[in-house]
């Protein structure tokens, strides 16, 4: 039932993912929360170079829990944070860095949904609160940026994942949005 996806994927492949599909993900992703989004957008506006290249990497809305083991980092908690906080800054970042898809929880707003359709991208919902399972899916910490300035949760972590899931496609390239469907039905039913 879970489809294995190995990164990188072509945008044409992502465009075929449909709301309700369940995925297990292997490959390199970048974590970014609201502070990192703000900083990435500020760098783009001022023309300052970033210390990492987000081009083509999936963005994971996540503030991991990490432990220092000698000269390496071990991730001891990995899971999604509420994506809605990143809604405003996401379309610009997706356009500039060719973000193939997003991972988070709770869904996004209309701005990002539009960007997802325009770019034929997708949004994948990870299961909130499952930090221990997520930690087991981290093969390696490839890099971490802005750790000292922004702290552990808000730093940008570049992670090699193996078999991370289940991830549910909840916003797809056709614009179908499961979060929005369920939430609207709930409000209508009151």
């Amino acid at each position: 039932m879970k489809r294995q996806i190995h990164l990188p994927v072509s945008q044409a492949d992502v465009a075929q993912w449909r709301a309700g599909d369940v995925i297990a993900l292997s490959g390199v992703v970048l974590t970014a929360r609201d502070l990192a989004h703000r900083r990435i957008v500020a760098a783009a506006e001022s023309g300052a170079p970033l210390p990492f290249d987000p081009t083509g990497l999936p963005i994971f809305h996540c503030g991991p829990l990490a432990r220092r083991d000698g000269d390496r980092w071990a991730i001891t908690g990995l899971g999604p944070t509420t994506s809605a906080r990143m809604d405003a800054s996401t379309p610009a970042i997706m356009a500039r860095y060719a973000t193939p898809f997003l991972i988070g929880k709770g869904g996004m707003g209309a701005a990002t949904r539009k960007a997802i359709v325009a770019r034929q991208a997708a949004y994948l919902a990870a299961v909130g609160g499952t930090g221990a399972l997520g930690a087991k899916a981290v093969e390696r910490v490839l890099d971490v940026h802005w750790l000292l300035e922004m702290g552990m949760p808000d730093a940008v972590w570049i992670l090699q994942l193996r078999d991370y899931g289940p991830l549910v496609v909840t916003i797809d390239a056709t614009g179908r949005d499961l979060h929005e469907e369920i939430a609207s039905a709930a409000m209508r039913g009151l």
Binding site: G20, V22, L35, C62, G63, P64, L65, R67, T76, G77, L78, G79, T81, T82, A84, K105, G106, G107, A125, V127, G128, G129, T130, G131, A132, L133, G134, A135, K136, M150, G151, M152, P153, D154, P166, V168, T170, L178, H179, I182, A183, A185, A186, M187, G189, L190
Partner: protein, 289 residues
């Protein structure tokens, strides 16, 4: 005396660890019961994944969630305990120690500068005091997730509408915010008092055992009605549909001013992490089941 102090301080750290890596039995039971009821494939997948995560966390001594939360202590302090004066500093010390030893994620951030200082800073950990008579101290530690905390609200309901008006207001709020609070959630409602008292009542209601009902039969009925209504919204686990949006709803009631009906609402994510301990007069301490 110092050795005794060290003993309960160590138990305090163990209590925090217990809350971080394991769920209380009542919460686990409620999640299993939800899995037994749900028929939607996505709801079942989510509940199975939550339960699998709890197992993996326990097996590997890993925190259940990477958001190890804002540390909150609910203290029932016996007025004649010899350890009262030591307690505030000890709670901070235990959080610092647990942050290093478990470890917990540094999650205390200056609101102006966004600088992350760890888990202890001005106002953190959060301590809720309740002074009772006696020589013992009972403490419940709660790891309060940030996503679910954003779902808190202080509502001012039009006075005079009674139970139904309160129910409607709380239901409308919960239906709007529950999808982003890692459902199935636990709901705490503080009815009446002043605004601050209503929110405190909501938080205290939140830490009650899942499956428990208020001793006042009228409030108990309100809890059951609210739970039923929230679970009829169809929001479900992770907000992707299902009949389990909340594991339970708890309410605490205080009398209101003639002109005012404040209602506090607090939500906790499915990872309702809490653990309790008792500090005896002797300084011995035990983690409570």
């Amino acid at each position: 005396m110092r050795r005794r102090h060290a003993q309960w301080l160590e138990t305090l750290e163990r209590t925090i660890r217990e809350a971080a890596i394991g769920l209380p039995d009542d919460v686990l039971e409620a999640l299993r019961a939800a899995l037994g009821r749900e028929t939607s494939a996505l709801a079942r997948l989510h509940l199975e994944t939550l339960l699998e995560n709890v197992r993996v966390a326990r097996e590997n001594a890993l925190p259940i969630c990477q958001d190890t939360g804002t540390p909150v202590f609910f203290v029932r302090a016996g007025s004649d305990s010899p350890w009262l004066a030591d307690l505030p500093a000890a709670l901070s010390q235990a959080v610092s120690a647990a942050t290093g030893s478990i470890p917990l994620r540094p999650s205390a951030i200056h609101p102006f500068t966004d600088v992350n200082v760890g888990n202890v800073g001005p106002g953190v950990p959060i301590i809720d005091w309740d002074i009772v008579s006696g020589r013992e101290i009972e403490i419940t530690y709660v790891a309060k997730g940030g996503g679910s905390e954003n779902a808190s609200a202080l509502l001012f309901v039009q006075p005079g509408g009674g139970e139904s008006a309160i129910l409607e207001a709380v239901l409308a709020h919960v239906a709007r915010v529950a999808p982003r609070a890692c459902p199935p959630v636990v709901i705490g409602v503080g009815i009446g008092g002043t605004g601050d008292a209503a929110l405190r009542g909501a938080k205290r209601a939140l830490v009650r055992r899942v499956g428990s009902r208020n001793a006042d039969p009228d409030v108990a009925r309100f809890e059951a009605r609210l739970l039923d209504a929230v679970n009829r919204t169809g929001i479900g686990p992770a907000g992707l549909g299902g009949i389990t949006t909340a594991l339970d709803a708890h309410a605490e009631l205080a009398f209101r001013h003639p002109a005012s009906l404040p209602v506090g609402v607090a939500l906790q994510c499915w990872a309702d992490r809490r653990a309790s301990l008792r500090i005896l007069e002797s300084g011995d301490a035990e983690v409570l089941a």
